[in-house]
Structures are given as structure tokens and as C-alpha cells.
């Protein structure tokens, strides 16, 4: 999902071109994603807890994005929504905790060029396209929007899947500096230092602020096989931007007003 990175960096830089808007009537919608992870909320740490993110908004606030082909040859495209009420529900054993995120920290996006969908965070140093929770691959649909770069004749916006009911599964990522293995390979192939690359960054430096304290989600399930016929030992570099995560999760959209007490 390297293009997803690129797309989101463009988002963060404010250079994203919104290429179309919905003409359908506004409809309440709830987007959700969940997995099991280690989590810190305020002063409490939960191991192997369910974490459910939700954004309640309106389909009228969906907007298309397409980065065009960026310098690394990749492209990000799809739909996203930045406006809505975001909450998180943690289920740890018999205990359930719900917290509300302060506005402006998280949006929902589906990058159909890169089979990713989920909750992406905005931080002072930019947007994190794989954090706090993105579902990757699996049944997340692919579309490259016609394969024509933004602004070129024949450009097509990707289908707006986020405007309908859906449920997708895929690998779950809660990864700072996603996709880190791409950064590692870029450095490795140019002979630059790979120190600190190839792994997800420390999420404790990227707290999400909630009414129950700061929220941190950890990517503890990974796959790091040896590379280049053993030249790089196992445990050094994530396999790739899909198989580097052993964790799975689900992303869903449900049209209509949320049920009382629901996500």
C-alpha cells in the first residue's frame, strides 16, 4: 500500500485534489473497523483487547481523492470522509470502555488503488495512513479508477464504495510510518542506512486524544522472514505492506441512523 502512503501524505500536505462530489441525497452513515490488539487508554493498558473504531457521519461529506502517479510510480485513489463523530470501544474481558476522540484527529478512507480501508490519523508531523487501524487486502475491493492520472484525459474517479452498506476483511495494521518495509527497501537499494527502518514506528509518540485520556494502539503481530537468501536475518524487516501483519480485522459501513447504544 505504498501509494496509500503517498496519497495520505498528499492529504496531509493539503495538495489533494478533490475530483468530484456526491449528488445523492445525504444519508447518515456509520463506518466501523475492529481488531484485537494491545491498547493503552489513559493510564490503563489492555492486552489482547478488542478495539472498535467508529465514525458517524453523513454520506454527503464523502469526497473522492486521487493523487495521480507520484514520484515512486504509485498512485492512491478512492474516497474519504473527514467529518464525523469518532469513538472507540475497547472490550477487555468482561470490561467495556467507550471513549470519544477529540475532533480532527482521524478520518475514514478507502484507498481502492491499494486495497486499504479504515481509520487514518492526522498528527503534527503529517498523516499516518496505517494508524490507528486500517484493514488491508483480503476482501477490500480494488479499483485504479481507470488507470489514468489525475488531470489527464480519461481520468475516472474510483467507485464510491463508502456510499453503500459493506463489510470487508483483511490484514489489520496499526502501524506508524506505514509501509515501513518500503522505506527500508528504498534505503537498502540505494546503499543508505537502514537503521530504524523496516519496522513500524513507536505509537506512543502518536497519541490520539480522547475524553478518557490518550489512546495508543500497538502493532504486535508481524512477519519478518529473512530476506535476500539469508543476507538479511529474520526479525529485521516486515515482509511487505500486506503480509507484514499477522493480524486481521474488519471494516464496515452501515447506512442509516445508528442504533441507540450502537457503534
Amino acid at each position: 500500500m505504498s501509494a496509500f502512503t503517498a496519497s495520505c501524505r498528499n492529504l496531509a500536505a493539503g495538495t489533494l485534489a478533490l475530483v468530484c462530489s456526491l449528488t445523492a441525497s445525504a444519508t447518515p452513515v456509520t463506518y466501523s473497523a475492529w481488531t484485537v490488539a494491545d491498547i493503552t487508554l489513559g493510564a490503563n493498558h489492555y492486552k489482547h483487547a478488542e478495539i472498535h473504531f467508529s465514525l458517524t457521519g453523513d454520506t454527503n461529506d464523502l469526497s473522492a481523492f486521487d493523487t495521480g502517479v507520484v514520484p515512486d510510480g504509485q498512485e492512491g485513489c478512492g474516497w474519504q470522509i473527514q467529518k464525523g463523530i469518532v469513538s472507540v470501544r475497547i472490550v477487555a474481558g468482561t470490561k467495556t470502555i467507550t471513549a470519544h476522540l477529540r475532533p480532527g484527529q482521524v478520518s475514514v478512507a478507502h484507498d481502492s488503488c491499494n486495497l486499504g480501508a479504515g481509520f487514518v490519523g492526522y498528527f503534527p508531523d503529517g498523516l499516518q495512513p496505517g494508524y490507528p487501524l486500517v484493514i488491508d487486502g483480503g476482501s477490500v475491493p480494488y479499483s485504479n479508477g481507470g488507470g489514468v492520472a489525475l488531470g489527464q484525459p480519461g481520468f475516472q474517479a474510483a467507485p464510491n464504495y463508502l456510499g453503500s452498506n459493506l463489510t470487508w476483511s483483511g490484514h489489520a495494521w496499526s502501524c506508524i510510518n506505514f509501509p515501513p518495509e518500503q522505506l527500508w527497501y528504498d534505503a537498502y537499494t540505494t546503499g543508505a542506512s537502514t537503521a530504524g527502518l523496516g519496522k513500524c514506528g513507536d505509537p506512543s509518540a502518536y497519541p490520539l486524544h480522547t475524553d478518557k485520556g490518550d489512546l495508543i494502539v500497538y502493532q504486535n503481530l508481524y512477519y519478518m522472514p529473512s530476506e535476500f537468501n539469508g543476507a538479511v536475518p529474520a526479525g529485521e524487516v516486515l515482509y511487505d505492506d500486506y503480509g507484514g501483519s499477522l493480524n486481521d480485522g474488519f471494516f464496515a459501513a452501515a447506512l442509516g441512523a445508528p442504533a441507540a447504544g450502537g457503534e
Partner: protein, 213 residues
């Protein structure tokens, strides 16, 4: 890849089962999947789409080790099963008639989930690795390590703690098997149920959880 569990691991498993059998606990096994990958769930004359949660309520007393085709697997055949499909703001739950489905974990071959008397070990809902490399999920990772113990270094240091004997809390992930033929119906209180089939898109990921109640 189809390597037998080591005798040490097997002995530990048998000891664990013996201890647990003396103090059974209520346990619920649940597999989560999605109909985008599996195709809609047909129950009676109705079609349902969304997230699938197939659950099996039992007691740890009933979990046992069995040898099947030369491989030791963990099974629980005694319990009450139900399926819930949630999508588009609606939820439906059907209760599966007794004696049709069971829970099964074959660590060596990377198969985990719900089999049935009607459809065999992969149906209605089972994680199964194709090549049993880590990138498919935790279940594949454990199968990889069972075959090639040295591969453990590619995974988190606590990866072996995710292996389950169906005796306690568990969390595993993986790729869903899809039936190549039209699967048989499983009887529920809402009518015959069919999940997936040869037209299912596939590529679905799944989460298997066991919770002590």
C-alpha cells in the same frame, strides 16, 4: 509442511487436557468472517450480507485430542451453535440444530474453525492456509513453525502462545477456505443454511476467538 507435532508438544497437550478435564469451564468459540468474501448466507429463502459470527458454546471438559489421518488435532464436538449476520444496520441470528457442527484445530496443517457432519472439516467456516507461510495469519505462522521450527525467528517472540488446545482464551487469524462445490445445507431454526459455495469471491480473512464465560 505436514509434519507431526513433536512428542514433547503432544505430551504437554495431553497433560493440559487432563488437567482441564478435571475442572471444565464454559467456553464460547467464535469465527468472524464477511460475506463479501464468502458470498451471502442463505437461510431459508432469505439472503443475508455483512459480518458473519459463527459461535459454538460448550465446556472445556469436551475439548479433546484426536488423531485424524495421522495428525493430532484438537476438537470439541459437544455444544450449541448459532450464526449471526450483521450488516447495513440489521442483525439476524439463527440457531443451528444440535449435533451438526464441531470446532477443530489442526496446527500442523493450519486448519482451524468449524466443520460439520454434512460438509466435512472445512465447512461451514474454516481458516486454512494454502502454503502455510506467515503472511496468511497466525494460524499459518503456527503451521509454518510446526514444519520448520527455525522459522519461529520470523515471528513475535510470543507467537507460540497463540496455539490453542481449545481449552481457554484464544485469538487466531487466517484465510478462509471456500468450498469448490455447492455446500450442503445445515439446519437452523430459521430454515436450511448455506454459506458460500463455488461462486464465492474468496480472499476473505477471518478471526477465531475463544472466550471463557
Amino acid at each position: 509442511m505436514k509434519k507431526l507435532l513433536s512428542s514433547v508438544a503432544l505430551a504437554c497437550g495431553l497433560l493440559g487436557l487432563t488437567a482441564a478435564a478435571q475442572a471444565g469451564k464454559s467456553i464460547t468459540y467464535t469465527m468472524y468472517a464477511d460475506t463479501t468474501a464468502m458470498g451471502p448466507v442463505m437461510i431459508g429463502a432469505n439472503s443475508y450480507s455483512g459480518q458473519i459470527a459463527l459461535s459454538f458454546e460448550s465446556d472445556t471438559h469436551f475439548a479433546h485430542l484426536a488423531k485424524e489421518n495421522g495428525v493430532y488435532v484438537y476438537r470439541n464436538d459437544t455444544g450449541t451453535a448459532s450464526i449471526t449476520i450483521s450488516g447495513g444496520g440489521t442483525t439476524v441470528t439463527a440457531h443451528i440444530r444440535p449435533g451438526q457442527v464441531y470446532v477443530r484445530y489442526d496446527q500442523v496443517n493450519g486448519d482451524l474453525g468449524f466443520g460439520s457432519t454434512a460438509g466435512g472439516i472445512y465447512y461451514p467456516l474454516t481458516i486454512s492456509c494454502n502454503q502455510c507461510y506467515g503472511y496468511d495469519g497466525i494460524t499459518s505462522a503456527l503451521a509454518d513453525i510446526a514444519a520448520y521450527p527455525a522459522d519461529e525467528s520470523a515471528y513475535p517472540g510470543n507467537i507460540m502462545s497463540y496455539a490453542t488446545e481449545l481449552q481457554g482464551p484464544a485469538y487466531l487469524t487466517g484465510v478462509l477456505a471456500v468450498s469448490a462445490t455447492t455446500p450442503p445445507a445445515i439446519n437452523t431454526d430459521l430454515g436450511p443454511m448455506i454459506i458460500g459455495g463455488p461462486n464465492a469471491p474468496g480472499n476473505g480473512k477471518a478471526i477465531f476467538m475463544a472466550r471463557i464465560n
